[in-house]
């Protein structure tokens, strides 16, 4: 085990996969000479050369389209979109081609493409550059949606993405890049898709999060334990597609209460989907309506104070929990 930041763990994963599989190559804006907007690909151009680490023009639709073509042709590309906000420009390629070709070709075509993108607010990048679109991508059948919360999972999940024959949307929260944690050095270290991680066990309420919001959940659990003597179980979903609803339901059956935390907006967000599934599967075990702690229903403000007031906080989670007792 080696302690490293999440961006380093991601780089480790890319390096190991490029070494393991010569068909893996990287494309994206500023990923080569500059080393990536979040320094994830730093040093890879020098190590693997321009043939496998390609800087592209600012043309998201084109880059994704090229990635899809390469994947269809037998390679296993990783395309980095500088942020998830720019993926709107590539949405047609992702949704109408990457997600559907396998189905529409009756299984003749696979699109083994990994699309990495940075997500989330909290960095004063204003409303157009602070989206959390995990739920949007989870909406489309045919895509896998992965959103790690820590360095070890980031490495294991990203390596796992290169073993998949489907398009994987790999979403990294900007607040997590500098997060440090122990990471296994094993080149065969993989984290399975569709296996949620019970970060801590509890008896009174289940707090579910993913990516950045897991951390609000664990801090809230600390506050609840210290101040209210409420024992919270915290679950990190790790992947939204496939979704490990079994682990969530099993936990809710034990605690009888569920709070879902996410950076996305409440209206039409992934928390609504998860809430519905909990009610479908565990209605008779609930002691309170499933609660959602999400961003306020406005475009994210630039002003720092307003930005933090808009995003879900651990205090919001604590309040949601206390309202159930």
């Amino acid at each position: 085990m080696v302690e490293m930041r999440m961006r380093d763990a991601l780089r480790e994963a890319l390096r190991e996969e490029m070494i393991r599989n010569p068909n893996v190559f990287l494309m994206g804006e500023d990923i080569g000479a500059y080393g990536g907007s979040y320094a994830v690909t730093k040093g890879l151009l020098e190590e693997f050369g321009e043939h496998r680490v390609r800087d592209t023009p600012i043309a998201e639709s084109g880059i994704i389209g090229a990635g899809i073509g390469a994947a269809m042709g037998g390679l296993h590309p990783m395309v980095e979109l500088m942020t998830i906000n720019f993926s709107f420009l590539a949405l047609d390629q992702i949704v109408n081609s990457a997600a559907k070709l396998h189905h529409m070709s009756n299984g003749q075509i696979n699109v083994p493409l990994v699309i990495r993108m940075a997500s989330g607010g909290g960095s004063q990048l204003a409303a157009t550059h602070s989206h959390s679109l995990e739920g949007l991508y989870a909406h489309f059948p045919g895509l896998k949606v992965v959103c790690p919360s820590n360095p070890a999972d980031a490495k294991g999940l990203l390596k796992r993405a290169f073993r998949d024959q489907n398009t994987v949307i790999f979403i990294e929260h900007t607040a997590n890049y500098a997060l440090r944690g122990e990471v296994p050095g094993d080149v065969d270290y993989l984290v399975e898709f569709g296996k949620a991680n019970v970060l801590r066990e509890g008896t009174d309420v289940t707090i579910v999060g993913y990516s950045g919001s897991v951390h609000q959940g664990t801090r809230a659990a600390d506050m609840l334990a210290a101040q209210e003597e409420i024992s919270a179980e915290v679950i990190d979903l790790r992947t939204l597609r496939p979704l490990d609803i079994d682990t969530v339901v099993e936990s809710v059956k034990k605690t009888n209460r569920a709070v879902i935390v996410e950076d996305d907006w409440r209206f039409g967000g992934f928390a609504g989907e998860l809430s519905a599934q909990i009610m479908e599967r565990a209605f008779d075990w609930l002691d309170a309506p499933v609660a959602r702690v999400c961003s306020k229903d406005v475009p994210l403000p630039y002003n720092r104070n307003l930005e933090f007031a808009t995003l879900p906080s651990e205090e919001d989670v604590v309040d949601a929990v206390l309202a159930m007792f």
Binding site: D284, W285, L286, D287, D319, L322
Partner: protein, 438 residues
């Protein structure tokens, strides 16, 4: 077009009734006001009046059948009309009970985006339904159902008084009372009845200790008494005031009246008290009221319930509109009421429309009786025996006929000083009994 005759709701907590006997047969002409059947509720057997005229074209319910409130029991139509098929509708829309209801438009703090940081108050009656429903979480309901816990008896500790899992588990740990085991055959019906708890729910019976018989099953009346008295004590904060009434003059007054009265008009001590209370209630209308979350409901009629002991339990039917009735009239009606209560032939309004209750154990020789308020009323007067007792009058000890009365009143509606004025009013009226004849 056939008119539907449905199982009426006779009494606030009635959920179903048994059709005891048809008094009109198919093909018979029915006029508005005719008695067409006898219905048995958990309190009494009552006569079902027709609200419309017509020919009885179908008896939908058979004699002996238990029918949920609101379900069709008969059809009236033209003599020539063929009876259409009747679909039994599920008893989903049970009218709201007359007990505590939260103010309309009240929302749960949990559903508001803002903060609801204060700990949930140890809540008012949450067994108390809002709009006929009991607020209970799904898990609490499931566990209660499995364990046979009557949720109407539970107080919820959750937001807005929601009954939570821990409330049910606490109730299982210390069961309030043994209950009947219903046939396991109709789980769906039983779980529906759970919301009103009128029907015993299936569930494991506590194992009887070796060598003893199991618990004695509860009669419907016993269940109703248990439910209503628990509701009262759980939701109505009582305060109590007692005083002595010198009944010497009242007893003489009664003797004088009865000397020239027919048997039917014969005035009892209780009749004097009913009349005194009726006058006092007119002057203190807040004791003739009902507490609701939305505000005090002041009753325009003064219907005084009188507690009547029966072989198994008791019932408190009302002498209706006491305010406008003479003492003689009250005497006649209360005797009739007692007779019909004992034979199980009360009318629905007599036991569902009471606005105040007098409970009198004078005939049993008790000195004093402190009553439990008959919900949702605001007060009850407990009456003891008239006894010869030494009293101090003008510095001398004399023997007087003394009767102890106790007022139990809902503190949400009135306060002690008002209660004191009210009970003093009753005392004054009884000690100057001529005023009762006015």
């Amino acid at each position: 077009m056939a008119l539907e005759v449905t199982m009426p709701q006779m009494g606030a907590d009635m959920t179903e009734g048994t059709l005891v006997r048809w008094l009109k047969q198919v093909g018979e002409r029915v006029e508005r006001g005719d008695i067409i059947a006898e219905i048995e509720t958990d309190k009494a057997t009552v006569e079902l009046e027709a609200y419309d005229g017509g020919t009885l074209i179908k008896q939908v319910a058979a004699e002996g059948e238990v029918v949920p409130v609101g379900d069709v029991i008969a059809l009236l139509g033209e003599a020539s009309e063929a009876a259409p098929d009747v679909e039994r509708k599920p008893p989903a829309e049970t009218p709201a009970r007359r007990t505590i209801q939260p103010a309309a438009g009240e929302t749960s703090p949990a559903s508001q985006p803002g903060r609801a940081r204060e700990p949930a108050p140890a809540v008012v009656a949450s067994g108390a339904p809002s709009n006929g429903r009991i607020r209970i979480s799904p898990v609490a309901k499931r566990i209660a159902n499995q364990a046979g816990v009557d949720i109407a008896m539970l107080v919820g500790s959750g937001p807005d008084g929601r009954i939570l899992r821990k409330d049910v588990e606490a109730a299982i740990a210390s069961p309030p009372a043994p209950r009947e085991t219903a046939p396991a055959a109709a789980p769906a019906a039983a779980s529906r009845a759970l919301t009103m708890a009128a029907v015993p729910v299936p569930g494991p019976r506590p194992a009887a200790p070796a060598g003893t018989a199991g618990p004695e099953p509860l009669s419907k009346m016993r269940q109703a008494i248990a439910r209503r008295m628990t509701l009262s004590k759980e939701t109505q904060p009582h305060y109590y005031l007692t005083l002595d009434v010198d009944m010497t003059a009242a007893m003489q007054f009664r003797e004088t009246l009865n000397a020239s009265a027919t048997d039917a008009q014969h005035v009892s001590v209780n009749d004097l008290i009913v009349k005194a209370c009726a006058i006092a209630l007119e002057r203190h209308p807040r004791f003739n009221a009902e507490f609701t979350e939305a505000g005090l409901k002041m009753h325009s009629r003064i219907n005084i319930d009188i507690g009547i002991a029966l072989d198994d339990g008791l019932i408190a039917p009302a002498v209706l509109d006491c305010g406008s009735k003479s003492l003689g009239r009250i005497a006649v009606e209360s005797k009739d009421l007692v007779n019909r209560a004992k034979s199980g032939h009360l009318r629905a309004d007599e036991y569902s429309e009471g606005t105040f209750t007098i409970t009198n154990l004078g005939a049993y020789g008790v000195e004093a009786l402190i009553g439990i308020i008959n919900p949702p009323q605001a007060a009850i007067l407990g009456v003891g025996s008239v006894m010869d007792q030494p009293v101090a009058r003008n510095g001398e000890v004399k023997i007087a006929k003394v009767m102890k009365v106790a007022l139990s009143a809902d503190h949400r509606v009135t306060d002690g000083a008002e209660g004191a004025r009210f009970i003093k009013e009753i005392q004054g009226l009884l000690e100057n009994p001529v005023s009762l004849a006015l």
